[in-house]
């Protein structure tokens, strides 16, 4: 039996039946990482001693005969923007090169309580800004299905780790598509939860009205188990909401699926369209009702997002000043410390976004950019409110094309921004969406995006797990 093929549920059963121990599974993963990660580059740091210590602790709980949770002893990977107490957290940036996390993020605390095993910290675009992980200050994560191509971003390391069997599951974060896009490119399941359902405490902030932590996994069942472990109200995150996830069993028969016509307009690769349309047909064959809908403000999504997110980023990244965290340049005066530490510590993309945000918020431009974008955000939100009066869920592609070549878009920021065309609107509205592997173009996976109404993760997950059997 290949231990690295097993899902969370299978591992849990195996632990129960004493077929193998958590230490054995953890060692199998550490071995796999050693074997394959040189060519993939999913991990920025492998936390081997932490993982083995946690695995031993998990085995003690398991052998004690007491009840143990689903994630107990199961090895996972964590995006390097999420703090794990005592471990380096770089957010993919040189400015945090030697920064040791002073506490656990709430999601990590929750995973640790369940007895999780943390294998390491995964690569990302610097401060989660990007769609390919090429913006990481350290390395580019390659797509495990074709190493000449990108893994997608920004949670590319987390997606590639799961796809390359270097972790059972992982945590990513989604601000404009950063969980769903790499999940789609790497052929894993990725869930962007409703804004406010998972605590952001301990996630290095990029754009606070959009950032959300979520699971990436081998299948829908695993994604659900991880989501159930991490969601919930947290006193350390005032935007987290008190709600109860209730498992539901949605019947595909009679289910109303909305298909937004704007998501199939110019620019989509015909091969992607074919796969998504065939996925929709399979749902129809299973009895679902397919309804064409309109999200009329779709075309403004990317522009709206690329004003709001950089505005928030320019404020959030002001804290990296050469005074409070690791990287610092010496200078004659305080202003010099700020200018030089930030000038040398940040890479090109964070600089570009800080500049954009500072410009859009500056006197004289605020109304034309920031205020306008906030108004358009309301229009986009309203599009979904209207749509969900008619349908239960919405199906769309995650991306207009499959994984692109490393370097293909690296020097053209605007073309990289346009990769997010099908994922940003969901974030501006704050609703949940999942990427489900739906087919392949050659070797390259393609994800179907299943979008739900606020706090309807249960509906999305139930539908996804049924479709998973049909694809």
């Amino acid at each position: 039996m290949e231990l690295t093929n097993l899902t969370i549920t299978q591992l849990h059963q195996g632990f129960k039946d004493k077929k193998f121990t958590s230490v054995e599974v953890t060692k199998a993963y550490l071995e796999q990482i050693k074997k394959t990660d040189k060519s993939i580059g999913a991990y920025l740091a492998v936390t081997e001693s932490l993982a083995l210590k946690q695995a031993e602790a998990a085995d003690k709980i398991i052998t004690s005969g007491k009840h143990f949770s689903m994630l107990c002893g199961v090895p996972c990977a964590i995006k390097d923007a999420i703090l794990v107490d005592g471990e380096i957290a770089t957010a993919g940036s040189k400015i945090l090169e030697n920064y040791v996390a002073p506490y656990d993020a709430t999601v990590i605390k929750k995973l640790k309580t369940q007895g999780a095993v943390i294998l390491g910290k995964t690569n990302l675009d610097e401060f989660a800004m990007g769609a390919s992980t090429e913006n990481s200050a350290y390395q580019v994560t390659k797509n495990p299905h074709d190493t000449t191509r990108v893994a997608g971003g920004s949670s590319g390391g987390s997606a590639a780790a799961v796809a390359a069997k270097e972790a059972v599951y992982s945590l990513g974060s989604d601000t404009g598509g950063s969980i769903r896009l790499p999940a789609s490119f790497c052929g894993v399941v990725g869930l962007n939860p409703t804004y406010g359902s998972v605590s952001r405490y301990g996630l290095i902030a990029f754009a606070s009205s959009l950032d959300q932590i979520g699971p990436m996994a081998k299948n829908v069942e695993d994604a659900k188990i991880v989501f159930e472990a991490i969601y919930g109200k947290d006193q350390n995150d005032a935007t987290s909401k008190n709600y109860q996830f209730e498992e539901s069993n949605i019947n595909l028969k009679g289910l109303k699926i909305g298909v937004p016509k704007e998501y199939f307009s110019e620019g989509i690769d015909p091969e992607i369209e074919k796969i998504i349309k065939s996925a929709i047909q399979k749902a129809k064959d299973a009895g679902a009702k397919i309804i064409e809908i309109s999200l009329p403000n779709t075309q403004y999504g990317v522009a709206c997002y690329y004003i709001i997110a950089p505005c928030e980023a320019s404020a959030n990244l002001a804290r990296f000043d050469g005074i409070k965290y690791g990287f610092s340049e010496t200078a004659d005066n305080l202003l010099g410390v700020y200018l030089q530490s930030r000038g040398r510590g940040f890479g090109a993309e964070p600089k570009r976004r800080i500049m954009l945000g500072t410009y859009a918020l500056s006197s004289g431009y605020y109304d034309a950019y920031y205020k306008k974008a906030q108004q358009v955000r309301e229009l986009i939100k309203e599009d979904f409110t209207q749509a969900f009066k008619k349908v239960d869920v919405i199906f769309s592609p995650v991306s207009p094309f499959a994984a692109f070549k490393v370097g293909e878009k690296a020097n053209d920021p605007l073309s990289m921004y346009l990769v997010d065309v099908y994922t940003v609107a969901v974030k501006l509205a704050g609703i949940p969406a999942l990427s489900l592997p739906a087919g392949k173009i050659g070797k390259l996976p393609v994800g179907l995006q299943i979008i739900g109404n606020y706090f309807e993760e249960n509906k999305i997950l139930s539908i996804a797990s049924q479709l998973e059997q049909l694809f």
Partner: protein, 94 residues
């Protein structure tokens, strides 16, 4: 097209030291992106004068004291590159 002087001015506001090469590239990139943002001018006006996100939904919460372990303060100070006697040390402000 955004001018070179504007780029330098914004970089100063943003506390970013940019090299000559970065300024040239930034001017080109920002100009292309800002041109793209012009698309929003075509967007319809909000029908109702609803208040905007960020100004509404979250009413202010009461100030609360949330206890943290003393070790946390120490950990936070330890992250600073320059510190002395449990304090973060900075260059003279004045």
């Amino acid at each position: 097209m955004i001018s070179k002087e504007e780029v330098i001015h914004i970089a100063k506001l943003a506390r970013l030291q940019l090299t000559e090469k970065e300024i040239t590239k930034m001017q080109k990139d920002l100009s292309a992106i800002l041109d793209y943002f012009d698309l929003l001018k075509k967007a319809p006006k909000l029908k109702t004068q609803r208040t905007l996100r960020g100004q509404t939904s979250q009413s202010l919460r009461a100030d609360e004291i949330i206890e943290k372990p003393a070790s946390m303060a120490n950990n936070l100070v330890q992250a600073a590159p320059d510190k002395k006697d449990g304090y973060v040390r900075v260059k003279a402000v004045l």
